[in-house]
Amino acid sequence: MSEARQSLNRREFFSYLTVAWVAFGAACAGMLSLAFRFSYPNVNFEPEMEFLAGTPDMYEEGVDERYKNGMGVWMVKQEGKLFALSNICTHLGCIPNWLPAELKFKCPCHGSGYYTSGINFEGPAPRPLERYKIALTPEGKIKVDKTKVYRWEKGQWDNPSSFLSV
């Protein structure tokens, strides 16, 4: 037995075997990693949470309703700040109306009222409306991202990405 083992040239033996196992291992690893990559689809069909809201110069001082129905967002320009205000009442989730005459959002369901800024001042609403992430694209377009939310009561409205200064 043992001399039989002597008979093989060790170096060769090892090198071949190592090459073999290394290559084999690498290949298997590669296949596995591919299988891992397989679990990340390249295309998905989820609804868009981002949208382009034109350019800053589109907006007058005050509340702009053109994205209210489509995207559920009020674009508000106030004191040199442009921000995207959620149109979901913080009370029970109804959709408030913008009353230009009284300069306030008024919820038809239970009468919560909000200032132009989105701060609640009357009715059952427990907290101000939420604001969404807003930014300028390199092309100069406004991009609103509804996945990121800023809440006043958490002091997030000072966050630079919660408004555009214009």
């Binding site: 990559r37 689809p41 390249n42």
Partner: protein
Amino acid sequence: MAANGLADKVRATQVWKSIFRHGPPDNARNRAAVVAGNVFLHLHPIKLKKSGVQLGYTWCMGGLTFFIFLALTVSGVLLMFYYRPTAEYAFNDIIALREHVPLGIMREIHRWGAHAMVITTWLHMFRVFMTGSYKPPREFNWGVGVILLVLTLLLSFTGYLLPWDQLAIWAITVGANMAKATPFLGHGGPGASLAQIGDFVLVSDKNDVRFQLLAGRFVGEPALLRFYILHCVFIPLVVGTLIAVHFWRVRKDGGISAPL
């Protein structure tokens, strides 16, 4: 040398020992231990007749069949991540697999694998017959083999529908119409017209075997679901079980056949 030294060190560690309960398989004891002590290997005998390792004799078709079966199981499971068996999505999902899902050849592997398995099964059987290996004591295992052959074909057949394209539904339609012609059980088969009490029709197009197979009169969404489940769950389970039996019997009937 170094490599060797290192290898020995590694072999000395507790971890290694805990996993491999034996030294390098270069002597009788260890070679036996490897095979006996490893859950995957232990369905091999420790020693076997030389003819059993000669490709010229075994053609290795049985082994390949089993391996391809495993490969198909893996790729099949992965495919299930991206496939929904509904008339609405099935076809689009297949397109997705081709167009944008990562590792775009997954479906190809599965489909060609399926074909390959059919081939290897046939050739395995061919070989077994040629060497008369079905003869005593292996009669029963031959029988099991035949069943496995049938199941293999069924697996492939049920899978054929899933892409939900013209090729699929019409191939299945052709196949299903054979079921229609089953004597006494299919409404197109001999004697079916006899099976009727007054106007109570026992075998008609809405209660015969084809209906059972397709869950309907023609190949539609219910059939798709039915075939999907047969293909992904039911038949594989049966096949798996029978494979176990098959291997077990191979061992028990004295391993790979050889002249007495």
